[in-house]
């Protein structure tokens, strides 16, 4: 059996089940029940527009969503679209989550704009981590140490932002923390040709152990080192007062904007520039690159260090933007979810961002659901992002075209 077809069918079946759940469980039993969906933000500072809220009849809307999911299922089951299975499947999962939220908030108010805002913010460290992974993988260096880079970046950012009282300095320090771990990865995998998976695992353990030790021995006794100046939202004049979109996209912190710029910038850089062509050549066929005079190890070093910049920034976001202190293991597996986003996005910045947004939606939903009575313990709700990750990783990724020389050391005679 053609693997693309099998994968498409498998996802078609999953989507069909999700669609049936939406219709049978969320829609049909709730005739006449209303969810109030607020289009205003309780979080964003902008209050230029007042469009209030909409009363959403659950039956009609979730029925439509359910039918849309079933249509996507039909698409997956009948049409061959090997390149778009991830997108279609991801859309089906995303729609299911939205229906779930509408149902959970029945008789109550769902703050949709804040949910979207939070989704984007939750996606930031995942996106930055995934971009770090994309950069390394495109040069054929396997970087599973993203988790470690996030932790290192979060720690250095907190300390420097506390000492200098400047979030920008903190971000710079976060970058440095990520780059240090990246340099160690480069040293181990590019220079000493260590197995790259082992090198990654070692670096995660190293970063987690060192930051935990320093946090418990030093930050806990010197709390002034763990009270950083944090990033706050910066409105973009004019754009931030657009209804709905304004508070979601244009009233965010600098790190969120930087992330969006990085996604677009890298998408262009990898696929449309000379640097990107050479990077991919090194990742696909290093010897071919070598024989036309491209310096393979320099290209790899640059990619790994640039990845360290991004992942370190993601770490800084965790400790001086999303939160305002460092806590032990605060990355909580986000580095691994970022890896999943990288894979589900097929090593493309754009795709990785899309997958990170799906995971971000799951995370934001989990928090929103804690405010409603859904009959599920809140601890279980917090596991939703990880469950979504497992679903995506086990199915969506499927057969993936990985860079030709992935994980292989290259040395000239």
């Amino acid at each position: 059996m053609n693997p693309h077809v099998t994968r498409s069918r498998r996802f078609g079946v999953v989507a069909a089940v999700l669609g049936a759940l939406v219709i049978g469980f969320f829609a049909l039993p709730n005739a006449g029940v209303i969810t109030e969906v607020s289009l205003e933000s309780r979080l964003a500072g902008a209050d230029g527009s007042r469009i209030g809220s909409i009363d959403v009849p659950i039956l009609v809307v979730t029925l439509l969503i359910g039918l849309a999911v079933l249509a996507l299922a039909a698409l997956l089951l009948t049409v061959r679209l090997p390149d778009h299975v991830n997108v279609v499947g991801g859309a089906a999962v995303g729609l299911f989550v939205v229906a779930f939220l509408l149902w959970a908030a029945r008789g109550d108010t769902l703050f949709a704009v804040d949910l979207a805002r939070l989704s984007l913010r939750s996606a930031v460290p995942l996106t930055l981590g995934a971009l770090a992974g994309v950069l390394c993988e495109r040069a054929a260096v396997v970087n599973i140490a993203i988790e470690g880079q996030l932790l290192a970046g979060a720690f250095t950012a907190v300390v420097v932002a506390s000492v200098t009282a400047s979030p920008m300095a903190g971000a710079g320090a976060g970058i440095l923390g990520g780059v240090v771990i990246a340099a160690m990865l480069g040293l181990l995998s590019i220079k000493f040709s260590t197995d790259q998976i082992v090198a990654g695992v070692v670096l995660i353990v190293f970063a987690a152990g060192l930051t935990s030790f320093l946090a418990s021995q030093w930050l806990s006794t010197s709390p002034e080192m763990n009270s950083p100046a944090t990033f706050s939202a910066v409105e973009i004049a004019g754009l931030s007062s657009i209804p709905v979109l304004g508070p979601i996209l244009f009233d965010q912190s600098l790190l969120v904007y930087a992330t969006l710029v990085a996604v677009v910038g890298l998408q262009v850089a990898i696929f449309r520039t000379r640097w990107g062509l050479r990077l991919r050549a090194v990742g696909e066929h290093p010897k071919a690159a070598d024989t036309v005079g491209i310096n393979v190890s320099r290209t790899r070093w640059l990619a790994v260090l640039a990845g360290g910049v991004l992942a370190g920034l993601g770490g800084a976001f965790l400790s001086i933007d999303a939160a305002s202190s460092f806590t032990e293991d605060m990355s909580a597996g986000k580095g691994f979810i970022a890896l999943a986003a990288m894979l589900a996005g097929r090593y493309n910045p754009r795709g990785a961002f899309g997958a990170a947004m799906l995971f971000g939606l799951a995370e934001a939903s989990a928090r929103a659901l804690q405010g409603f009575d859904v009959g599920i313990p809140s601890q279980l709700l917090l596991a939703i992002p990880y469950v979504v990750t497992i679903i995506v990783v086990s199915g969506l990724i499927g057969r993936l075209r990985i860079p030709g020389a992935s994980g292989q050391h290259y040395a000239t005679e």
Binding site: R272, T273, R274, H285, K287, T291, V292, G293
Partner: protein
């Protein structure tokens, strides 16, 4: 460009790959470099391209010595190389591959794709080597990929072009195209170094031939004067039999019988359609055909590696599908697979280990659950000697050998068994003359010892030299087998899909072999 190598020496652990090699390539000539596998041809050229550094000696271009510390230096000096394993990024387009490293960019480092496409189009027209700039390389046939490699060198304005075993991967028509292109590049005033171990090709295209044996230049010849026999003797270092010496076959009972074999692929297109074939004791049946016409599937079916979707395969009357693979391997099927690296050898394991891959747990190689290293080594040393495997020792990893020597390891293992049926796919691919002679001799010996032999080969000369009966595969259908002798051009036409009835008249195919007495076989050689 005039190139001179003086006293080039390169040592690897255990071997001297190049031993004070002197070579002179003059302006506007095609210089043939002839030598067996492992004679040091590729090493020498890798030195010339800056991939290896020589331990001794110097390289002179137009009379002045140059230092080549890497491919970038070689490219700058006007040297281009068409590698045996193409240096192409499979997922890139033709234009991206050709311009890689010297890309055309707009401000800000953005790729100028249309300029690159135009440049490639212009280059390809100028040299009469048509390619589609935006085609993705991995979707191209091998011959076109090679053309991209050549254009890649020409794009860098190579004045000296090294072609390392360029014909090894080509079909005969593709090879003819290549020769035409080479001649036109020479007429342009460029110099070419052509590496091959095929004598006929050197005589067809080279202006001068240097023969390399065991790392040394042992002679230079003029292809118009030297005969193939002389070149072969010079290359191997002893008189070689270019003609397979064999007596008429004395075929016996049917050993392998395939009836109505049909196989379809995942997409439902047929790979094999209604194939009937019988091979008897003491005969060689050769299947000719352009590669990719179903030969691989046929071999997989008759060796029990794949179950046909319809039809049956029996070995001495027992259905193969009822027998496990271990029993098949130990119960009398010898198999030389088409892709030795994938199916024939475990690269990281030693020659000695590879030689007992299917008997490692049987006496005398294992005893009371322990491997008998002394026996295994002795066995390996004997095989290395008998099959002339060029290696520092039998403990060397099989993957580090040259292609021809790897093939000898596979052949040694499969031929040393007590076979009822021997299936050999492309048994001499990438193997030099001296070894071809030996392998062919052994195949005939196997036949004479009562083995049923099935050969699959895309080399028409090999088919004609070995076969007692010839079949041709085209688009998953088998034509024949036909009794020898049969006209070479008739087989060629069938390989291109002609109907045998139109070519051979009413001459009957003999799927079960001649029913009457054994035909007298005319030992006619082309």
């Amino acid at each position: 460009m005039e190139l001179e190598l003086r006293g080039i020496t390169k040592r690897f652990p255990g071997v001297i790959a190049n031993d004070h090699v002197d070579l002179r390539v003059t302006d506007g000539e095609i210089h043939g470099l002839l030598g067996e596998n492992g004679a040091g041809k590729s090493t020498l050229m890798n030195i010339l391209y800056g991939l290896y550094s020589a331990d001794e000696g110097e390289i002179l271009i137009d009379g002045s010595p140059v230092e080549l510390d890497g491919p970038a230096d070689a490219i700058a000096a006007g040297i281009g190389m068409v590698h045996q394993h193409f240096m192409l990024v499979p997922v890139f387009t033709v234009a991206e591959n050709i311009t890689l490293g010297t890309e055309m960019v707009r401000p800000g480092g953005r790729l100028d794709r249309s300029a690159a496409d135009d440049a490639v189009r212009e280059l390809s027209v100028r040299h009469g080597l048509p390619v589609e700039p935006d085609a993705v390389v991995e979707n191209l046939p091998v011959g076109l990929q090679q053309r991209v490699e050549i254009l890649k060198a020409l794009y860098r304005d190579a004045q000296l072009l090294i072609l390392d075993e360029p014909t090894a991967v080509l079909t005969p028509p593709e090879a003819d195209d290549l020769f035409e292109a080479m001649a036109s590049l020479r007429d342009d005033g460029r110099s070419l170094v052509f590496i091959s171990h095929k004598l006929r090709e050197h005589r067809a295209i080279a202006d001068r031939i240097s023969v390399l044996r065991r790392g040394r230049i042992v002679g230079t010849a003029d292809p118009r004067e030297a005969s193939e026999q002389e070149l072969a003797d010079l290359m191997v270092g002893r008189p070689v039999d270019l003609v397979v010496d064999k007596t008429p076959s004395a075929a016996g009972d049917v050993v392998l019988e395939a009836r109505g074999l049909g196989v379809v692929d995942d997409e439902g297109s047929p790979l094999l359609t209604d194939v009937d074939l019988a091979v008897r004791r003491g005969e060689i049946v050769a299947v000719a055909g352009v590669e990719g016409n179903g030969q691989g599937t046929l071999v997989a079916c008759v060796t029990g590696l794949r179950s046909p979707d319809s039809g049956s395969v029996t070995l001495r009357g027992t259905d193969l599908s009822a027998t496990s693979r271990v029993d098949l391997l130990r119960g009398g099927i010898g198999h030389v697979p088409e892709d030795r690296n994938r199916d024939g050898l475990v690269g990281p394991m030693s020659i000695a280990e590879n030689l007992i891959l299917d008997h490692w747990d049987a006496e005398p190689y294992a005893s009371r659950g322990l491997l008998q290293f002394a026996t295994i080594r002795r066995h390996a040393d004997e095989a290395v000697e008998a099959y002339d495997i060029r290696t520092p020792s039998s403990a060397t990893s099989a993957g580090s050998l040259s292609g021809g020597n790897q093939q000898k390891v596979v052949v040694a293992r499969e031929f040393d068994k007590d076979n009822d049926l021997l299936v050999a796919a492309q048994p001499t691919r990438g193997v030099d003359v001296g070894s071809i002679e030996y392998i062919h001799k052994r195949i005939v010996q196997e036949r004479d010892g009562g083995t049923a032999v099935l050969i699959v080969s895309s080399e028409l000369d090999e088919v004609l030299a070995l076969a007692d009966r010839v079949a041709v595969m085209f688009h998953g259908r088998l034509m024949g087998p036909f009794d020898m002798p049969i006209d070479k051009s008739a087989i060629g036409q069938m390989m291109a899909g002609a109907d045998p009835a139109d070519i051979l008249g009413d001459r009957p195919a003999t799927p079960d072999g001649p029913t009457a007495d054994v035909d007298a076989i005319d030992e006619e050689q082309s």
